[in-house]
Amino acid sequence: MTERERPGGLAGLLSRITTGSDATALRTSLTTVGSSLAAVLIALTISALLLAVTGKNPFDAYATIIETGASGNKLLEMLRRATPLIFSATAVAIGFKMLIFNIGVEGQYLFAALIAAEAGSRVSLPMVLHIPFILLVAMIAGAFWASIAGVLKVRKNVHEVISTIMLNYIALSVIQWMFDNFFRDDEIEGLNIKTTLLPESARMPDIVDGRLNGMFIVALATVAGFWVLVYRSRFGFRLRASGFNATAAETAGISARTMTIIAMVLSGAVAGMIAMSSVLGEAYAYGPNATPIGFGFAGITVALLGRNHPVGIVVAALLFGFLDSTSAELQLADVPNSIVKVMQSIIVLTVVIVNEATIRRLNERTAEQARAQLAGAAA
């Protein structure tokens, strides 16, 4: 017995001595933030070099970015452009939390946009019900499309990267076929073909007239919901446990199959809302030329940059929204606006590299400190 009590007492003593057991967690998050900032600075330097090499003055370009970005309208533009990015990064992050790579967000949100726009135009409801109805349809449609990949993975062991990429192509064809044959509003002439316009009751109110609509609030609420779900709920714990170590999770009674299906469904549901700021607040319909494309892939980048953490996702989406919002001004200043895309990509690459290195060093330090603390206490 005495043999057992000694380490027990020691560990007890240690946990009493160590004031604030959150110290480790705090240090981890501070280091992450610090390294991300450093990475952004490194990326800006590399971009400046690129600009210099192409014969542009990087200082002028950055000055243009800061000047235009500082205006109130540009800040609203940043929020507007960040809105779909927040949704799509969140959708991707839900999968990432259990190491599922949902590359199919693109197809999921476009499919959802078509179905939701069409469904919304066919019902008449008061506004308090109409908008939630359309959002719900969008989420269900997105979840449905995503669940195909989930079922394929669980039943047939098809890797989700393969199936979601393939499903993107299928989605595009299915959408085009459905739009051309069933949902296209024939009364709309010209190039800007769309589904039937949504009635007034289905139009998302603006927060700032003509500049930012209510979907921004919905996006923030969604990311908050993501945080609660993943970091506070029992389901989220099981999701993260499956991501940490699928075998250990399974051994502890967490079914990987169930978690895979639920994660894909949730991911698809959030993806369904990506185009809603356009459908409900700008175009009031789905249209091949009216509904923005490419957000599914951009979301992967933003989730990566934000390290799949809710706060990180919002910050990364705002950064990308900001850079996007300045691209027009840059063009006026004779800087090719593709430099913005290049900068975004460089930022992501640097952040990934810098973070990977930092985390490895942090892990080593944590292990070392744990040993040192124990050795110190034993002496």
């Binding site: 017995m1 043999e3 057992r4 009590e5 000694r6 380490p7 027990g8 020691l10 560990a11 007890g12 240690l14 946990s15 160590t18 057991s21 959150d22 110290a23 480790t24 967690a25 609660v228 506070r232 709920s233 029992r234 389901f235 989220g236 714990f237 099981r238 993260r240 446990a241 940490f244 170590n245 075998t247 250990a248 999770a249 399974e250 051994t251 502890a252 009674g253 967490i254 079914s255 892990n363 944590t366 292990a367 400190q369 744990a370 040993r371 603390q373 124990l374």
Partner: protein, 510 residues
């Protein structure tokens, strides 16, 4: 050529090799005569593979010397070993499926003529080689079309093609059917007749006695005896493998009650190739009883345990405290009072990058005391972690460090603690003290005994005979997927247990 070479092909002296926290080999001496088949036998975990990796240059020993053909060498990598004429046929074949036999064999040592692969000379050399070892293979067949036995011959040819005169075969018969085993032995005998030397690793005693000229026995990381088939029989070899220095079981008062807590009936688990991994296992564990499962690893213990906790499909029934859990999933079985200390703590038990308190929560996240509705009660989960850390003596600065920062023994105490703190009615404990230091081992034993005394039923799987005999109230022996004996740990002798574990007993009896 062999006249000028030493009569001793391989000589290892005082080899020791440590891995963090484990001594895999210590004080190993091995002498292999030229032109012989030399078997190295021992249980899984006795250090055979570690030793062979040392000889093949896959890692460097901490101390000791290696001599090949009388020359002391340093093996810094497998290519040093190959240069010295040592080749290894791994247990798991390393062949490229979509290349032909010929391409696989020359891969990495392609004979070239002015930068172009000289297939013709490779082909003719290989044909000669095949004649000399008495085997026939179509060199242009894709490896994906070959059976296991043929693949093994490709591996052997590959090693010979590189000029190896000393062949290491790691458990070569594990994957073969009896006919293929005979063929392999035929090949080995031809090789030896031509002057090659074969080191043959196995734990199958029949084969060892059949094919080898010399036998070296390893136990717990060291070589314990060298003998020949003429000098020893199966049961003698079994006793050497298992060891005869068993402790007398610690005196204890029986706490066994009549209440059956775990009732396993006619449990069968399908295995690969139609042979069951577990066949009709039936036993009961009563309240306050520890039932030990002895057996050489790989005889169905893993499948038995994972089937009982619902991680693997099986036939038959599992009843805990009168509740039939046969159709329940793993989580339902946990909730019904079945706890499981898994075989491999890092692979099956821990989330290494997650903080300790999340690790102690794993599998318990449904407990009411640790949650609020659908949410995790973080404060309660942390204080529960602190309780486990204190009670089980886990050495850690606090409950928020990630699990990878802990030593193996402390990780194990955390896993044991997580399973015992819920006061389960039945505990399946697989190697609860594997790879941990003596102090931690005693602590884990104490905890299991205490839980037993308070009425828990324990099924203990272990490779450590001291642990099995010291803790168990009764012993089951598993061999080849079946429970082949039920023994009383108070009266069993080590050699009896050894013969049971290696399957020798049945034939002696019949």
């Amino acid at each position: 050529m062999s006249d000028v070479l030493s009569a001793i092909a391989v000589e290892l002296r005082d080899i020791s090799k440590r891995f963090p926290g484990v001594i895999a080999n210590h004080d190993v001496d091995l002498t292999v005569r030229r032109g012989t088949v030399h078997a190295i036998v021992g249980e899984n975990g006795a250090g055979k593979s570690t030793l062979m990796k040392t000889l093949y240059g896959m890692h460097q020993p901490d101390t000791g010397s290696i001599s090949i053909n009388g020359n002391q060498l340093e093996m810094r990598s497998p290519s040093d070993a190959i240069d010295a004429g040592v080749g290894m046929v791994h247990q798991h074949f390393m062949l490229a499926d979509n290349l032909t036999v010929l391409e696989n064999i020359i891969l990495g040592s392609e004979p070239a003529h002015r930068g172009v692969i000289d297939l013709r000379s490779a082909r003719s050399r290989l044909n000669e080689l095949m004649v000399s070892v008495g085997t026939e293979l179509d060199l242009d067949t894709e490896v994906s079309e070959l059976g296991v036995g043929e693949r093994q011959r490709v591996e052997i040819l590959k090693v010979l093609f590189r000029g190896a005169q000393i062949l290491i075969l790691d458990e070569p018969t594990a994957v073969l059917v009896p006919d293929e085993v005979d063929e392999l032995f035929e090949t080995l005998k031809r090789l030896v007749a031509d002057g090659a030397t074969v080191i043959f690793i196995s734990h199958k005693l029949d084969e060892v006695l059949q094919v080898s000229d010399d036998i070296t026995v390893m136990r717990q990381g060291t070589t314990v005896a060298q003998t020949t088939p003429a000098q020893i029989d199966r049961s003698g070899l079994a006793e050497l493998m298992v060891g005869s220095e068993l402790p007398s079981p610690a005196g204890r008062t029986s706490t066994i009650s009549d209440a059956v807590r775990l009732d396993v009936r006619d449990l069968s688990v399908p295995g690969p190739e139609g042979r069951p991994a577990v066949e009709s296992a039936s036993f009961t564990v009563r309240a306050g009883e520890i039932v030990g499962v002895a057996g050489v690893e790989g005889n169905g213990q893993f499948e038995l345990c994972t089937a009982i906790v619902g991680l693997r499909s099986s036939s038959g029934s599992v009843i805990v405290d009168g509740n039939d859990l046969t159709h329940a999933n793993t989580r339902e079985r946990h909730r019904a009072g079945l706890a499981y200390i898994p075989f491999d703590r890092q692979r099956e038990g821990l989330m290494l990058n997650a903080p300790l308190w999340e690790n102690t929560l794993l599998g318990r996240e449904h407990e009411e005391s640790l949650s609020k509705g659908p949410f995790i009660d973080g404060a309660a989960a942390r204080s529960s972690a602190v309780t486990i850390i204190e009670r089980f003596g886990v050495l850690t600065p606090n409950e928020t460090v990630p699990a990878f920062a802990l030593s193996g023994g402390n990780q194990q105490k955390l896993v044991v603690g997580r399973n015992l703190v819920t006061e389960p009615s039945v505990l399946i404990a697989a190697h609860p003290t594997r790879g941990i230091d003596v102090g931690a081992q005693a602590a884990v034993w104490d905890e299991i005994r205490q839980a037993r005394d308070s009425g828990m039923a324990v099924l203990l799987v272990s490779a450590d005979l001291e642990e099995l005999i010291g803790l168990s109230d009764s012993l089951l022996v598993m061999f080849d997927g079946r429970i082949t004996a039920r023994l009383d740990p108070d009266s069993i002798t080590p050699s009896e247990l050894g013969t049971h574990m290696t399957g020798t007993h049945r034939e002696v009896a019949s």
